[in-house]
């Protein structure tokens, strides 16, 4: 039963406090600390910045009198949740979930009494939950940072939530979640193929870096950034295009024709192929050699 696999995997995750701490709590805590330091540094150099930019005192006063909209800050942060730091540390948790049974030789305890597909999908669901927790804590970190900014710069806080903001919040969050889960699925495939925790962690990272640099490699070959090959090879670019299409941020350039379709196909492929590959491989795997 898939429900049994999810319950058991979830139980195991919550008992593995070290993994839970590193993959969900560490980055948000660091974000608050570094964010606070940044705010204090900015406050300390406020006068110098004003002098350097030759900002009129009236403008300075206007800025300091404008309340910070917490709802807007949360909505903006939601679309930045797939940042590399959070991704890296969520991958630590995902690698532990996907490769743990190879590492601790525990497949033999569980594989006879449930289908292999259920066991792997159970891990995927719990990894998605782990990602969501990490994103939630990151959002809390963003809220704390906003409070600190308001306190340090002596600005008031408001919570003016518009329907558009809420829509951006949900869609930004969903896209970032998909991107993180997509990365962890590469970890799943690597874990199954290599039975190694390190591979489950580093293969997605290496693939991510390669994707990032793919435009520099493809460009001299005459492949335009919005061409099918470029988008299919770089789901990161596909994700950026989808964010622009969905969130339509200020100042963003108009998207070339067909880019949204290419991006959707790219995202779908990078989601389905690692999952299908991992399931197919795992279902035929010799689990006596953990």
């Amino acid at each position: 039963m898939l429900a049994d696999a999810i319950r058991a995997e979830n139980f195991r995750l919550w008992k593995n406090r070290t993994t839970l701490l590193w993959s969900t709590v560490f980055v948000p805590v660091m974000a608050v600390l570094f964010g606070a330091v940044g705010i204090f540094v900015m406050k300390a150099s406020e006068a110098k910045i004003a002098a350097d930019t030759k900002m009129p005192p009236e403008v300075m006063e206007l800025i300091s009198n404008t309340p910070i909209n917490l709802a807007e800050a949360i909505s903006t942060n939601a679309s930045k949740m797939d940042n590399p730091a959070l991704l890296l540390f969520v991958l630590i948790g995902a690698a532990t979930l996907y490769a743990g049974d190879y590492r601790w030789e525990t497949w033999r305890l569980i594989s006879a009494r449930n289908s292999r597909t259920n066991l792997l999908l159970g891990k995927l669901v719990v990894t998605a939950l782990l990602s969501l927790i990490a994103m939630g804590l990151m959002m809390v970190a963003g809220i704390i940072e906003t409070f600190i900014r308001a306190a340090v710069f002596e600005r008031s806080l408001t919570f003016a939530l518009t329907g558009e903001m809420f829509g951006h919040f949900l869609s930004g969050l969903a896209l970032c979640w998909l991107r993180i889960v997509q990365f962890t699925m590469m970890g799943m495939l690597a874990a199954v193929a290599t039975r190694s925790l390190l591979a489950a962690l580093f293969v997605p990272l290496v693939v991510g870096v390669a994707q990032f640099f793919s435009p520099q490699v493809l460009s001299p070959m005459g492949v335009m950034p919005d061409a099918w090959q470029a988008i299919l090879l770089n789901p990161g670019a596909a994700m950026d295009a989808l964010k622009i299409a969905v969130l339509s941020p200020e100042g963003a350039p108009p998207l070339p024709d067909g880019l949204v379709l290419k991006s959707v196909v790219s995202m779908a492929l990078w989601t389905v192929v690692p999952l299908a590959g991992a399931l197919a491989w795992f279902n035929r795997q010799d689990l006596s050699k953990e």
Partner: protein
């Protein structure tokens, strides 16, 4: 015969090595069934196939009436193969809770019961990373029983245990079969242990079944009369009875039906008989005969 495990022509090859070679085996429901064999005989391969960890190259196997991999049938079985390992950050209690969830069975109440039954109550809340091999074995056995299976497969269940632990495990295995109605299939290299605990055994060698049957039937073959008396060897020789010395006793090769006549003849010849009893061939002797293994202390305890 109501079989819990059946294999037909089961074959597993690893390159040129045939770990299992057309194995036909039927394990009946009820009692304790031992699977014996020297290293490389195919015991572990057989268990791995039955648990669905590996696929056979040829042939088929059924467990609890369903093909291997049939989750409904497999859920009626528990298992512990090789030295079990667990996530090191968990306590024994957590391990059982996790496996109960994974297997979709058992409430919290079953956990103390099984911990007590394998003698781990005191260590229930200790992290398993500090467990000895024997404790891991006990926890592995508890884990295999959490779902209250009808069939349990145990690979070397007493490995790494101290003598009191072995005795406790032996009692547990017997009680599972006798009181809980569980069919226990176990593999062990400790032949005396198997003889004491199993009702039936199969001896594998080079991937094939070489002997199978009730322990009492197997050990009854080659039965001999063990005699302690004075003077005895010369008289037995005079009566043309083949005998071998066994410490202070002699083992006379006679049929059971000839026993009373032999004892009468010895008494008539003036032999004082202090003790006379029938002894069977022990499982160890059968094992070494059937497998052609060389009997060494190392072989007896090899993993």
């Amino acid at each position: 015969m109501n079989a819990v495990i059946e294999t037909r022509g089961l074959t597993k090859t690893y390159g040129a090595v045939r770990a299992l070679d057309g194995l036909d085996l039927t394990i009946p429901k009820g009692g304790v069934y031992g699977v014996l064999g020297p290293n490389g005989a195919g015991k572990s391969t057989l268990f791995r196939i039955l648990l669905g960890l590996i696929r056979p190259t040829e042939g088929e196997a059924t467990v609890m009436g369903g093909a291997v991999g049939d989750v409904a049938a497999m859920r009626r079985m528990g298992s512990m193969i090789e030295t079990p390992r667990f996530p090191p950050y968990m306590t024994a209690r957590m391990v059982l809770r996790w496996l109960a969830l994974e297997h979709g069975v058992g409430g919290e109440t079953d956990i103390p019961y099984w911990l007590e039954r394998v003698g781990l109550t005191q260590a229930a809340d200790r992290k398993v990373r500090g467990f000895s091999v024997g404790m891991m074995q006990r926890l592995g056995v508890a884990a295999s029983l959490m779902s209250r299976p009808e069939l349990v497969i145990l690979d070397e269940p007493t490995s790494g245990m101290d003598p009191p632990g072995i005795q406790e495990m032996r009692a547990l295995i017997r009680s599972l079969a006798a009181d809980d109605g569980v069919t226990v299939v176990l593999a062990s290299h400790q032949l005396l242990e198997v003889q004491r605990v199993c009702d039936r055994v199969a001896i594998l060698n080079k991937g094939k079944l070489v002997r199978e049957g009730l322990v009492t039937d197997l050990t009854a073959d080659g039965e001999r009369l063990r005699l302690i008396g004075t003077p005895i060897e010369k008289v037995l020789g005079a009566l043309s009875v083949k005998a071998t010395r066994d410490g202070e006793a002699v083992l006379a090769d006679v049929k059971r039906s000839e026993g009373p006549a032999l004892i009468r003849a010895l008494v008539e010849q003036g032999v004082d008989i202090h003790e006379a009893k029938w002894v069977g061939t022990d499982l160890e002797a059968i094992f070494f005969t059937e497998t052609g293994s060389v009997q060494t202390p190392e072989a007896d305890h090899a993993g």
